[in-house]
């Protein structure tokens, strides 16, 4: 499977977890540029995270995204729409803004917000927006061969991510990614 290199936009919830991960620079093996909005930058305070973000901005791996009034207005409407759909968790303005930008500019949206993950399925007009969590980024890194896969322990990177961030992947998701990695990287050997 090939994963086209492309642009992404990250929300704060994704970025602050990802920044704690020991292999955080893997993100830039998958995406040419990851945009962060000004509102995301305002939520970052720790020296280690600021230092990582500043260095990646300097290397043009991360880039500042200044949202437009139209994108903000679309995001506000999306927040209202999400409140009218009873079976999805509500979407707040920061994630809604990422979805709005993702839809308009065809960027992959990086978020852990469950409402935002469900939006393409339930909100009209957002079906084509691609939303990834850390899980999909890690899986992509495996499928395109950006990480060494130990076929005796194909979930090593996922386990390390959980340890570094106290972010727990569901057993069902881990089983599914294990099968995909084994099929793609182990059975060919």
């Amino acid at each position: 499977m090939s994963v086209e290199r492309r642009f992404a936009i990250a929300d704060t919830c994704f970025l602050i977890d990802w920044a704690r991960y020991r292999n955080r620079d893997l993100l830039f093996k998958i995406f040419d540029v990851v945009f962060v909005s000004e509102s995301v930058l305002r939520e970052i305070k720790s020296e280690t995270t600021i230092s990582w973000i500043a260095s990646k901005l300097a290397e043009n791996k991360l880039a500042l995204y200044t949202e437009t009034e139209e994108e903000l207005e679309e995001a506000r409407k999306l927040v209202e729409i999400s409140r009218r759909i009873p079976h999805i968790p509500s979407i707040d303005l920061p994630e809604a803004l990422c979805l709005s930008i993702g839809r308009r500019r065809n960027y992959v949206v990086l978020t852990e917000n469950k409402g935002a993950i469900m939006a393409p399925e339930f909100v009209e007009g957002y079906r084509d927006v691609v939303v990834w969590r850390a899980l999909e980024v890690l899986l992509a890194a495996h499928l395109v061969g950006e990480v060494y896969v130990d076929c005796n322990n194909p979930l090593k990177y996922f386990i390390e991510y959980q340890e570094d961030t106290l972010h727990i992947f569901s057993q069902r998701d881990l089983l599914e990614v294990r099968h995909k990695i084994e099929r793609t990287r182990c059975e060919q050997k």
């Binding site: 994963v3 704060t12 919830c13 939520e43 970052i44 707040d92 917000n113 969590r133 899980l135 972010h167």
Partner: protein, 73 residues
């Protein structure tokens, strides 16, 4: 490739957050932090929880980790 979750996943995530949380730590916190942590356990919404706690999202994420509340994804 796309992320996909269901309403059942949302319920399961809530159950895991409730079970793994360090309730002794949470109940010792000042009221605003305590209620924000409880809100996060129920909703998984880091942004609103950080606003309840009156801290930035990254600072709230540190509180979440100290309270042993997993981000279930």
């Amino acid at each position: 490739m796309r992320a996909k979750i269901s309403s059942r996943d949302v319920e399961e995530a809530r159950r895991i957050r409730r079970e793994m949380a360090d309730w002794e730590y949470i109940n010792k916190q000042p009221p605003r932090i305590r209620e924000a942590l409880k809100y996060y356990i129920e909703t998984g919404d880091l942004y609103v929880a950080s606003r309840i706690a009156e801290v930035c999202i990254e600072e709230f994420n540190d509180l979440r980790i100290r309270a042993r509340i997993p981000n279930v994804g």
